[in-house]
Symmetry: C2
Subunit: 432 residues, 2 copies
């Protein structure tokens, strides 16, 4: 079985105006659906970041992927990594995610490109051997994967928005109740760094009051806070975030997070910190550990270099005594299944995974048969080969058409803020 | 494809009287050939340690393996590891390899048992999908794997021994020339800790003189030396062991090796240290790194828990900036192929691997078609599914018969020393 063609489908999917410290989501998120055709007649699929950058990254490996044996992935990863290391050595200031939305960091482009190829190859292998992908990569340790209710502040929502405006504690509790009623999630994550810290503190407290201690809570302001503010929030929310929850990327850099950690520890506050901004590649992990800046790493098959790399991260964090969860971006069902298979094959996975899936709708889903089902907040590994999902080509065509009609080719949450909220808005760190 | 039967073949293979700090090899080494039969008609094979202990470990998982899907390995490893962790917690003195020959440490029994099952499952999967095992586990990064000339002091050799007695520098050079002429090895390893350190130093110097700087040299006294002696040898052999070579387990414990390292560094001697005695499980690796006791970890699919664990070790050592090579025990061709596939799939592999294979003979080989070929010191990944090796059942029957006729069921190198060399011999650490 050799790969004969790489087919890229750039698509756009409707997205609500979700707020974060990066700005505001545009009305459409960009994704790419990847197909790998083979001489066996089988096709493997994956889903990744969208727009010009990710497409160019994939186009650049077309000549390597065409003719490739989908089983022989390690050499492609080694070669792309070596080339990227060379580029990174010459990058001013080195690698940092602090100022970049996921999917737009040029320094992990190779890992994102490889991941899209790897996941489609693993789907191919699974289809060829009649096994789910989680078993192709060593075997599942769980049959279903738990996800968390991922809450966002939102404003300026279009008419008919399912969850409405969310700009305070009360409306956020409503959003959470709706989402839990629909999906059955058992852990809750709030995207913070958007409103005054006191409003966000009040929101977390209202969520705890409504849902009780059996629903672990986490908040992620994406580095919007100073060390001082991070310590204050950590102090005020010690009880709420310590019961199986965490504080995620409160401020910028590992050094900043280490200072927050050490100051909270002197107050006997052991609230763990998670990161997918200060820790975005394997080299960051031992440093995060030695500084004790981060106790939980957020994996993601899309930008950590694929599903086997997520397993490697599970192993590495396990050896170093760290926790593991999973980051998410706006995505459809193909990505959801890749995340689910990867998570199912990770022995060290200590928290429910993030997912933006509730923010997308059936109108945009490209998975044949429609939206992936959640039961009690979890996605079950389907009893099907590969990722367990096929493409609905009519839906894919609609996604391509939407893509062709929108003017932007890059995620730019700041531009959305300037357009809809404040013509002078820019991302300032720390904001509070 | 489900496993229907686990068949264990205990065999004995002729072994020369190889010396090490553990004592002397007995006339026969014990191995176990594992067969996993399936309802698909395919059989997967592996080779592991022999004798009562390893057999009992495998018998203990028979009920779990029977009926198992060979793709679903991770749960078996997780369960065996969890049970072993429980045992280790209650083991007096904790886990150490210092006083145990590989294969006889009760605290990594679970990893050895799992490895024998995993390798046979990967062979099965490879046969089922028509791919070499190195590609089943993610893809090779090299098509052939380099091994080193593994030299031993020997005495009391039987008549007709191919390499004869080796008890000084001159005879060791002769042994090395013979072995390199036959196999083409390009790196040289001397098992030390046997004779007075000055004789071993002279041996290394004679090897350097004979083969030159293009043949990297390493010496492994298996903890026979004190810190003081280790520093002295490190000082005297600085030049010889630094050109792509290393000093392996000169003394006992990570703390001892850290002291050797730090003392040599103060003399601007950067000779790296390798270990498969002070570092035998994943938890040892970060400790070895933080103490700077060990710069090169010696993997081994047999006791590190299988081929995917060797890949994890390659990744972990790569992330921590450490080197990787591979340890060996007396073995036949099935083990050699497992070692070769594992090594081929490790991006971070910085030295030629060890192998005892030259010490075994065609008379004992159970691989169909006879001995595995070396070209220029390397074994090539065969263009065949699975491990690429089948069993010769006649040869296997001969191995079983030899096993049935010998009285011992456990490797005991001290007993051999008492029998043949000195009735009062026992392993004393440090000896010098």
């Amino acid at each position: 079985m050799l790969i004969t063609d790489l087919v890229l489908h750039p698509i756009a999917i409707s997205d609500p105006p979700l707020r974060s410290s990066y700005g505001r989501h545009a009305p459409f998120a960009l994704r790419t659906i990847v197909e790998l055709k083979t001489d066996s007649g089988l096709t493997g699929i994956s889903e990744t970041y969208g727009g010009d950058g990710p497409l160019a990254g994939l186009e650049a490996v077309r000549h390597r992927v065409t003719g490739m044996d989908p089983f022989q992935l390690a050499r492609l990863y080694r070669d792309l990594t070596a080339e990227a290391a060379h580029e990174m050595d010459s990058a001013p200031g080195g690698r940092t995610q602090t100022y970049l939305v996921p999917g737009e960091n040029p320094l992990d482009r190779h890992a994102r490109t490889f991941a899209a190829i790897e996941i489609a190859c693993l789907d191919l292998i699974g289809r060829a051997v009649g096994k789910p992908v989680c078993d192709v990569i060593g075997g599942r340790v769980r049959d279903e994967v738990s996800f968390s209710a991922y809450l966002f502040y939102k404003h300026g929502v279009p008419a008919g928005d399912e969850y409405g405006e969310v700009l305070d504690a009360r409306s956020c509790v409503r959003e959470c109740k709706q989402m839990i009623a629909k999906y059955g999630f058992r852990e809750i994550k709030l995207k913070g760094g958007v409103l005054e810290p006191d409003i966000e503190i009040a929101t977390i407290r209202a969520l705890r009051e409504e849902f009780g201690r059996s629903y672990p809570l986490r908040i992620d302001p994406n580095c919007a806070w100073s060390v001082e503010t991070s310590v204050r929030v950590g102090r005020e929310l010690q009880e709420e975030l310590s019961d199986g929850g965490y504080l995620e990327d409160p401020c910028a850099t590992l050094e900043g997070m280490a200072e927050v950690r050490h100051r909270l520890l002197t107050e006997n506050n052991h609230m763990p910190q998670a990161s997918n901004v200060a820790v975005t590649c394997f080299a960051d992990v031992p440093k995060a550990k030695s500084l004790d800046a981060v106790q939980i790493v957020l994996s993601d098959p899309h930008y950590w270099g694929g599903m086997r790399n997520v397993q490697q991260l599970s192993h590495l964090t396990g050896v170093l005594g760290m926790g593991l969860s999973m980051h998410s971006n706006s995505h459809l069902g193909v990505s959801l299944m890749a995340m689910t298979h990867a998570a199912a094959a990770c022995p060290n996975l200590t928290y429910a995974c993030d997912t933006h899936y509730p923010w997308q709708t059936a109108e945009d889903e490209v998975a044949a048969g429609g939206r992936i089902a959640f039961v009690n907040g979890s996605v079950r590994i389907p009893d099907k080969p590969g990722l367990g999902v096929d493409l609905d080509y009519d839906q894919l065509a609609r996604g391509r058409e939407r893509y062709s009609k929108i003017p932007y080719r890059k995620r730019d949450d700041e531009a959305e803020m300037r357009k809809h909220v404040d013509p002078d808005w820019r991302r300032v760190l720390p904001r509070w």
